[in-house]
Subunit: 188 residues, 2 copies
DNA sequence: CGCGCGATTGAGTAATTTCAAATCTAGTGG
DNA sequence: CCACTAGATTTGAAATTACTCAATCGCGCG
C-alpha cells in the first residue's frame, strides 16, 4: 500500500523490511475529500503529513480577503504549517485539498521518538529539511530577479502536470500576480 | 574564544566540555577582510560557515548586471551556498564580506562525520534546517502579501542594527526594490 | 577646497492592478 | 441532443505603482 513511501525514504537511507514496518507504525493513514481542510488558520497543528495521493494548497487570506498560495503539495511531498507544528503555535495558514487526498500523518512527539529510535530517520529528515530550504531559496530568487513570464515558464517546465490539476487562478496566486495578468501572459 | 558557538549549539542540545572540544575540532577558524569573497559564483563550495563576528551578504548578479541580495548573515548565523555545498555543484551566487568577518568553517565530509560521531549534532542540524525553512517561508509570504513599506518596517523592527551596518541600497536590494523606491518610502 | 560616495528628488515610462464586462467550457436536466 | 447555468478564463480601459535615467544634495576625508 505505502510502497511509494518506502521508496521515498530509501532515496536517502536504506531500510530492512522490519525497519520499514516499524517506521510505518509511527504514522497513521488518513483520507480527505476535495475541499476539506487539513490545517486551519488559528487552530493548533499537531500533525505533519506525507502525501500518498492527491493535491493540496497552503495559503493565507490577506487583509483584503484575497488568497495567497504559499505552496502546492502533491504525491511524495511533506506538508504542514511547520511554524505551528514545531513551536506548537496556532496555524498561520490554511491547507486544503484541491483533490481528494490520501496521506500519512505523524505527530511532533512521534516524530521525535521515531528519530530517537532510528538515527537514520533523523538524518533523513535533516536531508529533507535542507532540500526544502534550498528549494525555498530558489523561489525567493525567482521572485527577485525574474519577471512574471519567466517564473510562469519555469513553473510550467518543472511541474507540467500541475497545470492540468489546478485552475489558472491558483497558479496566478502562487506566482504572486493577479489572474488577469497571468491570462495576458499565456497569449504571447 | 568560541564561547558564542557553544552557547549557540547548547540552545538546542546540551554538551559536556569534552564533547564540545571534540566537536570544535571538526571546524577550522578563518578570518576574512571587508570586501573579500567567501563564496564565488561558478566556483566549487566545499565549506559551510558559522559567523562568529562580522556581516556578509549573499547575492547573485542578474542579466542586467544588478545585484540581488538573497540574504544577509551576521553573528550566530550559518551560511553558505547550500545547493552547491550539498550537491557539490558550482556556486550559483556570491557571498562577500560587508565587514571584516571571523568564522568557523566545516567541509561537507566533516559535517557528515560529525553527525555520525554525535547523533545529537544531526538533531541540532535538523532543527536548524527546519527553522531556516520556516524563516524562508515567512519571507516568501512577505513578498506575496505585503507591500514594500510593510516589508521595510518589518525588517527594521526585526533587525534594527542591520540598518546601521549596511548602506540603504543593500537593504533595497534585499527587499527587492530599487534604491529610489526605498528612499521615497522612508520619507513618509 | 573639492572629490566621491551614498542618498534624495523629479519627470517620464513601463508594468501591474482593479473593476467591469464579455466569452468560453463542462456538466446537468429536460 | 440541446438549452442552461456556474465556474473559469479572457479582454478592455483607467488608475496605481514602481522603474529608469538624470540631476541634485549632503557629508566625510584627504
Amino acid at each position: 500500500m505505502s510502497l511509494l513511501f518506502r521508496q521515498h525514504i530509501e532515496q536517502i537511507i536504506s531500510l530492512t523490511d522490519d525497519e520499514y514496518t516499524e517506521i510505518l507504525s509511527y504514522f497513521k493513514p488518513k483520507t480527505y475529500k476535495k475541499h476539506q481542510f487539513i490545517v486551519q488558520q488559528e487552530e493548533p497543528v499537531s500533525q505533519e503529513y506525507f502525501i500518498l495521493k492527491g493535491l493540496v494548497k497552503s495559503y493565507i487570506t490577506g487583509d483584503d480577503g484575497k488568497e495567497h498560495i504559499i505552496q502546492f503539495a502533491m504525491e511524495n511531498w511533506w506538508v504542514t504549517d511547520y511554524q505551528a507544528y514545531v513551536n506548537k503555535e496556532p496555524a498561520t495558514y490554511n491547507i486544503d485539498c484541491v483533490e481528494a487526498t490520501e496521506l500519512l500523518s505523524i505527530t511532533s512527539e512521534q516524530k521525535t521518538l521515531l528519530c530517537q529510535r532510528f538515527h537514520k530517520m533523523e538524518h533523513f529528515f535533516r536531508v529533507k529539511a535542507t532540500s526544502g530550504y534550498i528549494a525555498l531559496q530558489k523561489r525567493i530568487l525567482s521572485f527577485m530577479h525574474q519577471d512574471t513570464e519567466q517564473r510562469y515558464r519555469q513553473l510550467f517546465e518543472q511541474y507540467p502536470t500541475l497545470f492540468q490539476r489546478v485552475p489558472k487562478a491558483m497558479i496566478a496566486s502562487y506566482l504572486g500576480v493577479s489572474r488577469e495578468t497571468l491570462s495576458r501572459l499565456s497569449v504571447k
